[in-house]
């Protein structure tokens, strides 16, 4: 069964460093998302992406964050200068069509900022 994959599973970085989290969505999906989950808290929307541009972003997704689909398969989230409060699980999700359809989530990347 097709699935969303994410790498790395765990990333440890120093405050102020740049990190890139990678996702490979399901191959025929067209809509891509990043969510994050701070330990013990709810899952929060960060950004949605369609047709090579951002569709919507939350207030969390400030200038330190960016997303890119550098090729036909990868979808990346970059945090330019990490802060302690960026420590969280980051989930990528994808969906095949607009106006409905399940969002399939990847297993997540645990980001730890020291």
């Amino acid at each position: 069964e097709p699935e969303v994959t994410q790498t790395p599973s765990h990333q440890v970085t120093q405050m102020g460093q740049e990190v890139i989290l990678r996702c490979v969505p399901i191959s025929n999906h067209l809509y891509f998302y990043w969510y994050r989950q701070i330990l013990g808290q709810k899952v929060e929307f960060l950004v949605s992406f369609y047709n090579n541009e951002i569709s919507e972003k939350s207030e969390i997704f400030d200038d330190q964050f960016s997303v890119e689909r550098p090729d036909g398969s990868n979808f990346t989230l970059k945090i330019r200068s990490t802060k302690l409060e960026d420590s969280a699980m980051y989930f990528c999700a994808s969906r095949v069509v607009a106006g409905g359809g399940e969002q399939f989530f990847g297993p997540g990347t645990r980001l730890t900022v020291l």
Binding site: Y31, Q41, V43, E56, Q103, F105, P107, G108
Partner: protein
């Protein structure tokens, strides 16, 4: 107004019993209400979802009850099994308005005891 409130925070149910988790929302634009199941170290996985044009949806042991006037919906797990032990999140989105990000509840940690 974008919040989805979920209760209880944790729930312990005996094997074979009924598990009930409740959610409430304020935004009347929400028109899609999924429930996600999350096991430790995994991403959320869609369990069951409902649109507001029906008051109930059943899939196997899982049922969503939806009360549009009260802006509430709930998940019922019949004949609860130890394998159902997980964290459950309700969510909502406003597909009709092109706003397809998921707004999640705070989660319920369900434990099924023998």
């Amino acid at each position: 107004q974008q919040q989805v409130k979920q209760s209880p925070q944790s729930l312990i149910v005996q094997k074979g019993g009924i598990s009930i988790i409740n959610c409430a929302y304020e935004n009347t634009a929400f028109d899609y209400f999924p429930w996600y199941q999350q096991f430790p170290g995994k991403g959320p996985a869609l369990l069951i979802a409902i649109r507001p044009d029906v008051s109930e949806k059943k899939e196997g042991r899982f049922t969503i009850s939806f009360n549009k006037s009260a802006k509430q919906f709930s998940l019922h797990i019949m004949d609860s099994q130890p394998g159902d032990s997980a964290t459950y999140f309700c969510a909502a989105s406003a597909w009709k308005f092109g706003n397809e990000k998921l707004t999640f509840g705070t989660g319920t940690r369900l434990t099924i005891i023998p």
